[in-house]
Symmetry: C2
Subunit: 116 residues, 2 copies
């Protein structure tokens, strides 16, 4: 049973954003998208499954690359537009061969003052 | 200077998904959205700044709640549709009072087999 706030998004044709986080190191590995079919497949199989916005198709992470994702836990956020998969990631999560897709930085011009 | 792949998204009227991660504990705190103005404000000020899809306005995290986000680093992903802020978060990141917005779990029916 999916929560109503997520089902309502799917019924409006929206996708939810899915963050995949390494369950051991807590590194954020990638962000991709899920429709209902992708999320239900992930819950049913324990394999990270997504909806490709560019190819308009379901994809199981690692199906072609071998870089599979075993999903250890799935949580969802307060407004139901984002999902967090904690995963055991084989090899690189990024198609570039990098462990994480977030391997490039932007420069912060002015550092904020520490607030705690 | 923002990377071309991100600027192109903004010029098409798209938002990018922004993950805020606690820079000390690496907990994923929230997912929100940025347009160009929000991302540039974050880089210019070092304060977590977003675009509200529900209110259609810019918001600086903590401006009303006091739960400010000092942004320590900003990275972006391989296809330029997602940004990762590592932050120093004062208090709760979630409007519910929870530290993280991802405080509810979905049950995985079949656990995937360990792949490493």
């Amino acid at each position: 049973m999916l929560p109503a706030e997520i089902v309502e998004r799917f019924e409006r044709g929206e996708l939810v954003a899915v963050i995949a986080q390494d369950e051991a190191t807590l590194e954020v590995l990638m962000l991709a998208w899920a429709n209902r079919e992708a999320l239900e497949a992930t819950l049913a199989t324990g394999r990270g499954t997504y909806w490709s916005r560019s190819r308009n198709e379901l994809w199981v992470k690692g199906e072609t690359s071998g870089h599979e994702q075993t999903v250890i836990s799935v949580s969802y956020d307060c407004d139901g537009d984002a999902i967090l998969y904690k995963v055991n990631q084989v090899g690189a999560a990024c198609h570039t061969g990098d462990r994480s897709c977030f391997h490039r930085d932007l420069e912060i011009t002015k550092l904020g003052e520490a607030t705690s």
